[in-house]
Symmetry: C2
Subunit: 342 residues, 2 copies
């Protein structure tokens, strides 16, 4: 068992393979009698179509890949869930591919050294430059996610990072904070993501007539809560004073919460904090976390729309789509009702 082939069913039912294939695919021009006869043979034999054979014949696997640095990061795993569900609604299954945020891993994704497995790829690069992405020969349809500067030839979906960072910063300003820090950008080789967020942060400060203070930039060794704890703790140790903190992402914010509480600083009373991503944990931290919530559902659907068009042969220039985000005001920086910015 497990070795039943189309031909076996065909023999059993006394028909041709193609007729069986037609029944399997609900091809309309099959008589009822025939359909029943074949279906019975299928059931009796426990036949299961082999995707590989089908793929080889049709050129499609019904598989998409979603590639990013690390599934165990909540933003990615929650995104994966949403994309996976959306893909399933369109009849695709999702293969998750991790790059570990390394150049090597990302190169493997775009060069797709093993072709033919997936019909398309949704890829959130961490370190690869846009020019390098563009250079790679692109056998398989590709849509980029995230803030990296996408090459003009490739489709791309993102939120307006600078605007969102500005919204978070402005939110803190509206709470009366004046010494607002930025936490969690990479120490060296600042990523495009962090750069855009820093830009929005700086812009909002300047809009408010404040001069950004370089001391208030707290880089973090890696994008983890642990490194954020270290960054904030050492800043406090060296006597830095701040009353607001715009964090690069929720993990950094959670690290910040922890570090502040260890020093006995109250959030939001002493320091108001904002996160970024709206990972589910942000509703359960103490205090709950004010955060930038990208419209991930729309992100997923948009990316899949673009990808499906590519799969179906669309061959134009890269399209660039911006999806919405929301600033969710919660305990760590309360005050304004949720603000929708496009």
């Amino acid at each position: 068992m497990g070795k039943v082939r189309l031909q076996d069913v065909a023999s059993r039912a006394g028909v041709s393979m193609k007729t069986v294939s037609n029944v399997v695919h609900d091809y309309p021009h099959v008589s009822e009698a025939m359909r029943h006869r074949v279906q019975r043979a299928i059931d009796e034999l426990g036949y299961r179509p082999n995707v590989l054979g089908r793929r080889l014949a049709t050129g499609r696997t019904g598989l998409l890949a979603l590639a990013f640095a690390d599934v165990s990061l909540p933003y990615f795993s929650e995104l994966a869930r949403i994309v996976s569900a959306a893909a399933a609604r369109r009849g695709y299954r999702l293969l998750l591919e991790q790059t570990d945020g390394t150049l090597e891993g990302e190169r493997a994704v775009v060069s797709s050294s093993e072709a033919g497995l997936v019909d398309g790829v949704i890829f959130q690069p961490s370190v690869m430059s846009s020019t390098e992405i563009a250079q790679h020969r692109n056998d398989v349809p590709l849509v980029l996610l995230g803030e990296g500067p996408a090459p003009v030839t490739v489709d791309h979906v993102m939120i307006d990072n600078a605007a969102a960072a500005a919204a978070a910063t402005t939110h803190l300003l509206n709470l009366g904070r004046r010494r607002i820090g930025f936490l969690g950008h990479e120490e060296q080789r600042t990523s495009a993501t962090s750069k855009q967020r820093l830009r929005g942060y700086q812009h909002a400060l300047e809009e408010a007539g404040l001069t950004p203070d370089l001391d208030l930039l707290l880089p973090s060794k890696a994008v983890t809560s642990a490194d954020a704890v270290v960054a904030v703790s050492s800043a406090l140790d060296r006597g830095l004073h701040f009353d607001g903190l715009v964090c690069r992402d929720d993990l950094a914010a959670i690290g910040a919460l922890r570090a502040l509480q260890e020093r006995g600083l109250g959030v939001p009373d002493d320091v108001a904090v904002t996160g970024w991503d709206n990972i589910s944990m942000t509703s359960f931290t103490h205090p709950t976390l004010t955060t930038i919530a990208p419209d991930t559902l729309s992100l997923a659907e948009t990316a899949l729309d673009l990808l499906e068009e590519r799969i179906n042969g669309h061959d134009g220039m890269g399209r660039h789509r911006i999806v919405d985000f929301t600033l969710l005001a919660r305990e760590s920086a309360p005050g304004l009702p949720a603000v929708l910015v496009s």
Copy 2:
């Protein structure tokens, strides 16, 4: 481009397809000169082998599936990362499959309606009964994870849940707690996982000469922090008193932390709390969370060992393997040093 086939390379290099194939696979009996010549043709044409063709010919895809309820649950996403890395070391790639914890989704996994895509499946069932799993025709090698009662015919890897629950409970008893609750088992249709954990909890209480109090069992609607918050809050509302809480998993524990803090109860002073799974967030909660840490690395390796044997044709009875766990004492229930229990 993207349409380079083995035959194209063969023509270009002026050799047979098989020779190209041999070069691609580092088959030993190929002369250096030939290897170079073919390799140049490969490079010039940008040839990428097509996995599907290969699979059809060899019967292997190099893909494994990891199936569980929901990637966005931290335990699963962190497990996925570990299994994925371990699989990569063995030359496999990992396909993540979500069942949403529904019977329907789980049936789809075991009946593998589309055969041939993956070489094997690692599956953590949530609701499917062992008999039903056993009944399903099993074309593809399968290894079960987790606490469900595994059918004797199928390989299975787990930790000793009752022992771990007893360890957590005993840890609280050693801290002098006497009114210890259990939080987070399913309200109806208690899962096998919860049952075993409840059993260990009860056993530890009885060992200590205490009579389990049914009021101290706080079921939760679903396995989420949100529902845990509700469960704990309403227990406190109805005046329930407890000084220790063994939680079914870390998410429940995080919800408990939140609910207790909202009521102004101190952790661990008023209530000591233990979690389960050691998700990374438990190091950053306030207070940090004492938790049961399954040896997931060993879990992953063991599961892959068993699976590879099956893939390579092993056909005996189901093997059952127990992997270690550790009780990590942190702030929410401090005291004893880490205790290793097998």
